[in-house]
Amino acid sequence: MLYREAGQFKTTYAADQQIFPIRQDRIGVVVLLVVAFLVIPVVANQYWFSAILVPTLIFALAALGLNILTGYAGQLSLGSAAFMAVGAFAAYNFVLRVPGMPLLLAFVLAGCCAALVGIVFGLPSLRIKGFYLAVATLAAQFFVVWALVKFPWFSNYSSSGVITAQKMEILGISFDTPLMKYLLVVSLVALLALAAKNMVRSSIGRAWMAVRDMDVAAEVIGIRILRTKLMAFAVSSFYCGVAGALYAYAYLGTVEPEAFTLDLSFRILFMVIIGGAASILGSFLGAAFITLLPILLSVLVHAMNELLQDLVHASLPASITSNMEFVVFGALIIFFLIVEPHGLARLWQIGKEKLRLWPFPH
């Protein structure tokens, strides 16, 4: 099948401005959605749902949030995990303290709480840029985790600090099996991804990119810099907050500050860098790369070890195999960054541009 837009003429601006102007892309997205909502629920097993698909999707959502802030609005942040933590704890407290609180509403309100915290920690962005802003957002990371431990009210005075997330129930339907959790996560992620795409193709998205690319020019055409930046912080933190709530409810099953360390913030930043800044697709590719590759490597190393066992009746010590995974993982990250510093999304785009001409060279 050829990927080409020849013969697809646009006669209205509406047709030209749709999300996927090329017919083949539209077919591809429909196929993807059918697979995500109909095929995977039938064929995948429990391990795939809870160990692979759910975390990948949740990280993709967090990466999408950070991508809005860093990729589109150009504000570097190391506080994503903190905003996720705010979301997780806010959702827990809303469900706990407000009787009859619907779960979805709790998630939305959790996102709003994270957005407010994001706005507060985004205020320094008016004055500081780049690495210095990253250091300022680091303050969010340490402050939020500290505050959640310091004030036991947040964890409902639990002695261990680790609390079990409430059961997920929406409209009487219980979301406690891996399949149901997957369906909930994939629906929310799909909706929020669509909303993100809509924002970045509208005037707010253009304002974000304008501020990122040339702030003086943006100011001169009437864009309010601080408001635009804070809006990016708010939307980004909202996404991270919802991702954090899902992380606690649909993946971990517990709500604890230790789950949202600086390490997680860095992982999300790596997802954005490897996936591709300023790309919705890139957030998903980056999340898949960072979550799936270690699993894949560990499977490969295991298989190799067993092969060695069979052939020479000796196996590599565990210390070497586990470190080997890290070495290969690191090497692959470096390899991909050298091949395409703009991330996997750009590789995908280049591939599509090549396909348009194939089989001709130009």
């Binding site: 601006y13 909303a195 509208s202 005037s203 100011e219 055409i221 300023a278």
Partner: protein
């Protein structure tokens, strides 16, 4: 460039719309502008000339609020202010281009020009996220207006190209398009023809004159090419070391001895 200034005058230059009164601007100890007063009339093409460092760009930055002068007042459309701020200036219909191209490099030509119309869009964040109702309507409506500007400046073929990939001359044109998309009443052009070859300069002159004639846009422009300045502008302000040393029609300025000494050189 064959259009003479006498032809320009037939457009009917109107009332004063911008009045700058004894503007002084200093950066620490350095006086960038001292006591500068001049006015701009509606529909005219007003040039600011002067040697490097004379304060021309600072003057534009004062007009649209990037810099705040320590002294003086700015009256735009009769509204007298101590200083402008960028948002107010944009909302009042002042648009500009920059000496060094200030396009949004990561965006397509279309998005760059669309961003010039951001003040015309009112949809809230949630409406934009859903992309329905007002948000969608505004996108389509503004797209139509942007396409008119694209047609006007003859850049249809590069609409979807990322601006970073365009040659210099076209980038300058896209920047003009972004400014025009705002439908300004006053257009500030900071060296629109700098670094262009003759053909590109002729194109740009044509566009500047067309903008002025078809839309009646008032234009204040900084330019070093004296041929262009004398040809297309109605009146010229001459700055040197932050002071105004001449003001008048191209012919008057050309005959002004101070200007000749300071800028054009005595040999001329």
């Amino acid at each position: 460039m064959s259009l003479s200034s006498s032809m320009n005058n037939e457009r009917g230059v109107g009332e004063i719309i911008l009045q700058l009164d004894s503007i002084s601007l200093a950066f620490g100890g350095i006086k960038a502008l001292s006591e500068i007063s001049f006015d701009v009339r509606e529909h005219e093409i007003r040039a600011i000339i002067g040697p490097n460092g004379a304060g021309k760009s600072s003057m534009l930055n004062v007009i649209n609020g990037v810099y705040r002068p320590q002294q003086g007042t700015i009256a735009f459309h009769g509204q007298v202010r101590r200083d402008m701020n960028t948002h107010h200036a944009a909302a009042q219909g002042i648009a500009r281009t920059f000496q060094n191209i200030a396009l949004f490099k990561g965006m397509s030509v279309l998005d760059n020009i669309m961003s010039g119309r951001n003040l015309k869009m009112r949809a809230t964040l949630v409406e934009q996220a859903i992309y329905w109702g007002r948000a969608r309507r505004e996108e389509l409506e503004n797209r139509r207006r942007v396409e008119e500007v694209i047609d006007f400046l003859e850049i249809q073929h590069i609409r979807k190209t990322p601006v970073g990939r365009l040659p210099y001359g076209l980038q300058k044109r896209v920047e003009l398009a972004r400014a025009l998309a705002a439908e300004p009443t006053l257009l500030l052009l900071d060296e629109p023809m700098a670094g262009m070859n003759v053909e590109e300069k002729q194109d740009m002159c044509r566009f500047v004159l067309d903008v002025n004639e078809q839309y009646g846009t008032t234009i204040v422009l900084i330019e070093h090419d004296m041929g262009v300045v004398m040809d297309i502008s109605d009146r010229v302000v001459v700055l040197d070391y932050g002071k105004k040393i001449g003001d008048g029609t191209p012919d008057e300025v050309r005959a002004n001895q101070t200007v000749i000494d300071a800028y054009l050189g005595v040999a001329h």
